[in-house]
Symmetry: D3
Subunit: 333 residues, 6 copies
């Protein structure tokens, strides 16, 4: 039978389907009655689900990360879909098609990782190419790099999201850098690769997405510098000669300044052309991805607008998607 994905569910629809569960919580309502709240997801998205009149026993019957078969009804609550669960049971892993749940398929991850390697290996600068090689041949690093999300809530907040964002940004760099001869393309490409690497330790993503203590206490900018320092030592051992110090400083500057403003946690403003370019390109890729996601996830087809996005201080206009077709009907007088 064809699976019904989360982003296909309609209001008041009855559901009987398997989902990946996360963020389970046993909570009391105002009356002191217990209920179970959890997050159900598949590769198309996620929604909050509630089971009323829960107990400690029910709560402990499964763990986050399990696959559950769930029966219930979908409701619109405060503008978001949620499910009222009537019944659930664990689904044997043997029955699961992982491709239904993983946002990026293994093949896609492989393709992106291979493309990142290809771009890095195409750099002219020997020092940078050696340094890149130390990352690429570190299996433990590559395993975390290809698994980590790029965020918890905003852009690319899913397994593989970091890889997807980094690869996309590097592609942008290879397109844009040649248009500005004053930019050093290798430096910018390596900066694009490095800028968010600290997220592999800032975030936790084995099961639920979250922040590690390290992430909260020092953040991915400083962690990224620490990772780079380690790899520079390896590159020096590998090459048998010191890594150029100004180049090392410039790479670190690209990392610590890429948020672009003090208010966003950059301890330094971008002070070189490459740092300025990296900040703007990163911002472009992240914003298009995250705002595009908000628009794609908006279930309401009655309005040209998403609900107000407090974090952005605005609603988003979805009209671009339909305006050409409907353009015939409404006209400029």
């Amino acid at each position: 039978m064809v699976r019904r994905f989360i982003n296909q569910l309609g209001e008041r629809e009855a559901v009987d389907e398997v989902f990946l569960v996360a963020e389970k919580q046993l909570r009391a309502n105002r009356n002191g009655n217990l209920y179970l709240q959890m997050r159900l997801s598949d590769k198309s998205g996620s929604l909050t689900a509630m089971l009323w009149n829960a107990t400690d026993q029910i709560y402990s019957r499964f763990d986050n990360g399990d696959y559950l078969r769930v029966q219930g009804t979908v409701q619109l609550y405060n503008g978001a879909m949620q499910m009222i669960v009537n019944k659930f049971e664990q689904e044997p892993t043997s029955e699961i098609d992982e491709a239904d749940f993983i946002t990026l398929a293994a093949a896609q991850v492989d393709r992106l990782a291979s493309r990142v390697g290809e771009m890095l290996r195409s750099m002219q600068n020997l020092s940078l190419r050696n340094l890149a090689e130390c990352f690429l041949m570190d299996d433990s690093f590559m395993s975390r790099f290809t698994k980590a999300p790029a965020g918890v809530k905003n852009h690319h907040a899913y397994h593989g999201g970091l890889l997807e964002h980094v690869a996309s940004l590097m592609e942008l760099v290879t397109l844009v850098a040649p248009r500005y001869p004053e930019l050093d393309p290798d430096l910018l490409l390596m900066g694009a690769f490095l800028h968010d690497l600290g997220k592999i330790d800032e975030l936790t993503y084995e099961r639920d997405l979250g922040y590690s203590d390290e992430g909260q206490l020092i953040g991915h900018l400083v962690i990224g510098v620490e990772l780079l320092n380690g790899k520079i030592r390896e590159a020096e051992n590998l090459a048998g000669e010191p890594f150029p110090r100004p180049l090392a400083l410039h790479l670190k500057h690209l990392i610590v300044s890429h948020h672009g403003e003090y208010a966003f946690g950059s301890p330094k403003l971008p002070m070189s052309l490459e740092a300025v370019a990296l900040h703007h390109l990163d911002n472009l890729d992240a914003k298009i991805h995250s705002l595009g996601q908000i628009i794609r996830d908006d279930a309401n087809t009655d309005s040209n607008w998403t609900p107000y996005q407090a974090a952005l201080g605005r609603k988003l206009y979805k009209g671009a998607l339909v305006e050409n077709e409907t353009g015939d009907a409404e006209t400029e007088e």
Copy 2:
């Protein structure tokens, strides 16, 4: 004899060369003695020049926009080159090679204008292509569009600067838009063409660069909307049918939101994906161009840093230009 350009002049160098003059002023120093101050330029840049012990007669011997042969000496004053003029006379126009003074050669202007037309005519959307045609076939508009600067002080502040910036941004759009399927490439391209068009009336650029009353009172965002309204009326007459109203609104939104923040004079925040993309790409092109200019103009070769740029709140790092060569000398311990 080979011309010595402004960006080649060294400290304490004696000069005897022809320059384009602007911003002439007869001023009194603290002691009440009069002196003449003016701005001399050629295509490589400009510097301030002073003639001590001036008079009303000397002041009225030439006009802004004239070519003067000037003898004097170059000095470094507060970190900027200036010239102390000993003697000057008007240079007959017949002796001038205009290519030495015009930032963008006529051929370059033609090439860019033609490329802009080419990109606009390649749009799929018929309404937008018709609209674009109304701009392209308006000779009076094209003459101002290809002459206007993009600013008075910051990026692209010279004749043809607006064209150069718009063409560069449109090229960026053609590269970047295909990477994001959620973006409407025609809408984004037309937005890139339109976003700064109001500058043809906001600025004055027949002789000196400055702001018109209209520019100061209502600004190039609102002027741009007025220009667009006029052309939409023409396009409707041409096509014999109304221009799609949602499309018109979206184009206006791209114009009024492209500064991206209220604090920069946008009356609306970017609310569609195209508006967000346009804002970031515009910012990228303008910043790389203007910061690159600051670095290129910095005469001091003793430091890896430009002087502090108050408008940016930082110094700029010039090191990228030399670090690979010097990288051998200094190393990461």
Copy 3:
């Protein structure tokens, strides 16, 4: 029987009365049960009402804008009055006294519109008087101008609110302008008339109050300039001579700068004395009206203070209304 108005209802009071309905929604509570939520209003105010255990059938039994006879009970919920509806039915329009529901009676609207015309026709400046006439004799414009609200949530958020605000501001101008000889009274009066006219297209107000796509994408400042441009063309046709260009620019400047700060969406700061005066007088009229409304609407008579107003960053002090009477009791030691 004497009608019981919304602002007279007390806590836990039983109600059987006719109201105008708006913003009807069929929503699910946390348990997945459906309920109907709507906004009931009469000319004295509005409150939220809920009908539990609703269905699609119930939901579709009436439309926004209908008059409903409602039976229910009033409750205080989170500091605001709301009604729990037990039963409702449509009320035949023939039974309705519209004066109970319209904030501004038709006679009042007529009086205000006529007063606006009178003030505009008293201007000395012929160009401005001609321009004003083009607005006044445009029936379609006047019909929208006298119907539009001045806002969705804040000041004058009801039919006729725009007219009421504009008339009040124009009266202020006629009082205040003569005290400052450096102000051009006609320019200021015309600015007061024009400043918010864009709201007739920015807002939707046939039934519910809201923002149009145009309003959200370009805003009432830019729309106002577009409206003015159209009327200037009419005035030129009418007068057979061009409208003075500096005067046109100054009027547009009054419109685009009247919010006074970039942060409030003005693309230009007020730069003339008239623009500065208009901004402050507009602010004064809007603030006294909207804060006065908050104080009048506050149902709690136990406190000298309204609840905290997040948008204002403060509570409001209601004490002025009673302090003289109670002044005898409490004294300054």
Copy 4:
């Protein structure tokens, strides 16, 4: 002979006239040579004057506040008029017509003070009228109140400026308050009278304008509350009964909140309708006066714009003064 006033002086004009002197300073230029700098004024304005090659003896030949006959030449320096003094001598007071130097003539001061008294005595509220009487019959207070400026640099920065501003604001209140029935007119009028009274101790104005230690350490808002507390005690003695405490608190609130924002040194935001109204009306009167002054003082008739005003973040548009006459010449195409 007819006096030549400062605002009539032209560039490079020779001067031989009597001025009031202030802010004299013996300064060294970069070369270590001493010069005398001072501020010369008459009732039409003031300018900076320099005498080169000064000595201690020259410096001590006169005091601030003296009248000097000065011979010299006027120059434009950095956009402002200044005078290069060749010679000066003290002018016997018997030769002076004080009316040439005092901004507000004694008769004007008397008229304004009497008008302030008249408005205060017309209040309905007996407690406020008694309180006002305690101010009006205190000769020492009235002498300082009628002499104090309203500021050092900005609006009404001259003897009598405080009185002029307070009287103007009170006139505004009498015009505007009746339009808003929710405002208590007496409270607002008394607030207008009190709001800046602390300036009589915050500023020093016997000779030069400046800030007292008290003014800098605690400011005119807190000083104003202290003054009010003293007068309330007097009013209670006079009336033989306590002053209504809520009324006293409200008056203090009007004083401490009238700057309207924390950033401008108000320890409280305006929280009553009267406090909001007072803030906006005060702002209106002060802004029109100070910006009008900048426009009147601008010596440059070549431009429609004043120089950039850093404190305001903008240039000011002077065009309103001439546009009607020139309106015929320039037209909207």
Copy 5:
């Protein structure tokens, strides 16, 4: 039987204990059913409690400030403990051990008040010592000073909190001042004593904690200056000689500037070394106390972090408390 304190209660625990009640409210839920909400406290903390299906009769059976014996169950709701009450009755005062409910025991209050007196009497400056004596010997003042809280929500928000904060700050001053010879230790100590005294009138604390009208309208900084003015008059009468005026101004400056920034309601920035020192030491004591309280009150032992604190813009890290013990387990690789 040993009392079970609020900070010892665990999730889903049944309770039968006596509490002090405050903030009782009869509220309607969304369905229009009434419930009773109140705040129960003992000296270890407080929690919100609800009684479902309440009536006006139940609501009026007790007053805020009464002691109630309560039976119910504790639940975790939105991360905070709350109690669902099944039954309650009034507890005779004779059965109460006040020490279980008062945050600061009478003995502790006495000790702190006596320590404050001791520090003040140890000052070298005779004028300040006389002034301090006027506060210390004013029984009515001391009674309010020792009872007042230091805030409503943030630091030291309980009876005696003001005394505790002032005493702690004065102890800090006696430790820190001697390390900086440029500081006047007596001035700083007196400033620490005075800085928050206005809170005795700004807040209401006979029963519930709240703000007085006076507190909201003029605030504790201005009230503090008024209190000081009164005591200076007493000190002058006592000493038979005037209080040094510069010293009085400096003390007032310490009061009005101690919040350190305009944004926090200081009408003046700290401008003397003592004012700067007082601001930073006050901030230190208040922050450690209030953040420490948030950490101590956090009931969740599963995380190293408190929930997000919106007022602080961050989570707080609780790890310091346990990291040494757990340090063995986790190591730096």
Copy 6:
């Protein structure tokens, strides 16, 4: 002969004394004439000096860091002392008493360094004590640590300034930490030691004070974490066991958050009690030191106020130093 120190020099005083020279520059004035500008200092302070009519030869006769005997005259220029130099020559080092020039005498440096060691060795936490030992026994580190300034312009901007600030802050910690039992005293002490250590590489201080490329590109917060990482590796080698990871993270958090706000370049806000305490104590020590310096350096004895300090947004009040003596004269009426 007794040396005349810079802070003893009066206006128009003739000088013949030896100074340490820095920041020499050959500059052109507006007329194109060359002059030599340099900074002369001794341990009491520094001033700018100018030699008119300089040449390249004169410029190259000495280096920054030399001792020069200078003859000239002191002048007040724009409120600051400067010297007009008539003549200078190099002074043989043998004639120099270094104690006249070094802000911190060697003995003082030794005493402070030894006190820092003593405090670190008194910590209870073994891991922290081992870590501290790795710093203390690293001669190369200690040599830089005791030589570095704490800043270029603000607080402790001289050789040894970093040591002085760190030692002073650690003394504060030992006094203050015991008053707050919730603080971990060892963690706070180690944080105080570490917080600014990155300045040893951020700044250049062999001769002139300035910023290194590394300092500008990544800043002392990130450099400090790098230094700490190196020492943790040494400590682990020394101890033969891993350094507790939560402790390492907490130390890094203390470093990266100690500026307290994003706007001051902290990539993380202080999130633990120790981080909050460190931020406030650091701020206190730095502010009292730097503002005290401004007051001590202010040469003008005619005013109770320093000139306006743009970086602080205020003048500073110097009155505290004299008010007790002068208190007799002026009194509170």
